[in-house]
Subunit: 214 residues, 2 copies
């Protein structure tokens, strides 16, 4: 069973085309060695079979580290791979359907693109059965397309003040701004290229992890 | 519970961009009125939320007709929509994982692109827990890209002679060649544009249904 307390610290979101120096598997292994607390497998282009095989492989790599593996969007890949949960966007399957299909132990996170996304969630589900809320994007980024205007640091603080759920900040986070995002209220910082594209993903993960107060 | 005997007759595979004269929902309703025995929702471009909403809507339309709804590839959409099963290609999730996740009552069909696909299936699973095998494509077609060379009518006969599972023929089937495909051994003919693009989908479905011997 997953320790849901792990939604804190550095959260690696994968992006294979951005893995310049190592394979994705190696990036994930090194990032786990470097202390990331969560990994999300995001595969926008690959077919379902490839997606599943990657998920199974990453799950094997992460199990010894007790680092949960989340799957972006695809509940079926999560179920078939025995992953620990899913990260859902506003146009993915609804999180309450995910909760029914994955069960109580699964980690389910929901991306909020705007304050309106949060307010409408509260209207329908004042106590949503979710494990974290993600502010996406905090900063403008090139790794996700079609995102709405960035929330900024004030957006992170706004959400942190409103919710008891862990707040994950995603989008444009790197070494130079990580501390500010944490100080603004993020329980977890999700990074893509800051680790995927690093020559030394272990060191990158370590350095980011140290930004969190002990 | 679904009657698996329904894997016979006309099998509509949806393609929204090819629905020139009616909405997809209306095409499906008219096709059911015209006697199609199976519908597969195929959505290659839409996001998961849209896919699920469409699936739920088509399920509502088809329930009064007792026509099963299959989902292309996405087991999670199938589960969340309460659809009757999935159609899987060679690069989709493995059918045995689908059987575990969907259970015994689900209809699970597997697309075979080549004779080698069939032979390797037999090597690993001499009695596969599948509900049909699809010969894809029988004829060259524009509605699916990246398909391997067409099986032709002799391919349909080849597979029919080898397996006890229902054989579904898909790809380039229309009014003018449907009879030949059935005579070659197809238990079911899957059509896309022949119904989706028809001005009168009900009549198109009726006409194709009449090609089957009573």
């Amino acid at each position: 069973m997953v320790n849901k307390q792990q939604i804190r610290g550095v959260y690696l979101v994968t992006d294979r085309p951005l893995c310049f120096h190592h394979t994705l598997s190696e990036v994930v292994r090194l990032a786990a060695l470097g202390g990331v607390s969560l990994v999300q497998l995001r595969e926008k282009e690959s077919d379902s079979r490839t997606f599943l095989e990657l998920a199974k492989h990453l799950k094997e790599i992460l199990t010894p580290f007790s680092v949960p593996l989340l799957i972006n969007d695809r509940l079926d890949v999560c179920l078939a791979a025995g992953a620990d949960g899913v990260h859902l966007g506003q146009s993915d399957l609804p999180w309450w359907e995910a909760r029914i299909l994955l069960g109580d132990d699964a980690i389910i996170g929901l991306s909020l693109e705007t304050k309106e996304d949060y307010l409408s969630l509260m209207q329908t589900h004042p106590n949503p059965d979710l494990d974290y809320l993600a502010v996406s994007p905090v900063f403008d980024t090139n790794t996700k397309t079609n995102t709405k205007p960035a929330w900024g640091l004030t957006g992170v603080t706004w959400l942190k003040d409103k919710t008891d759920l862990p707040v994950v900040a995603i989008g444009g986070i790197k070494d130079s701004n990580a501390k500010a995002v944490i100080q603004a209220g993020a329980d977890s910082i999700a990074v893509v290229s800051a680790i995927c594209s690093a020559e030394n993903p272990k060191l990158a993960a370590e350095t980011l992890s140290k930004k969190f107060p002990i």
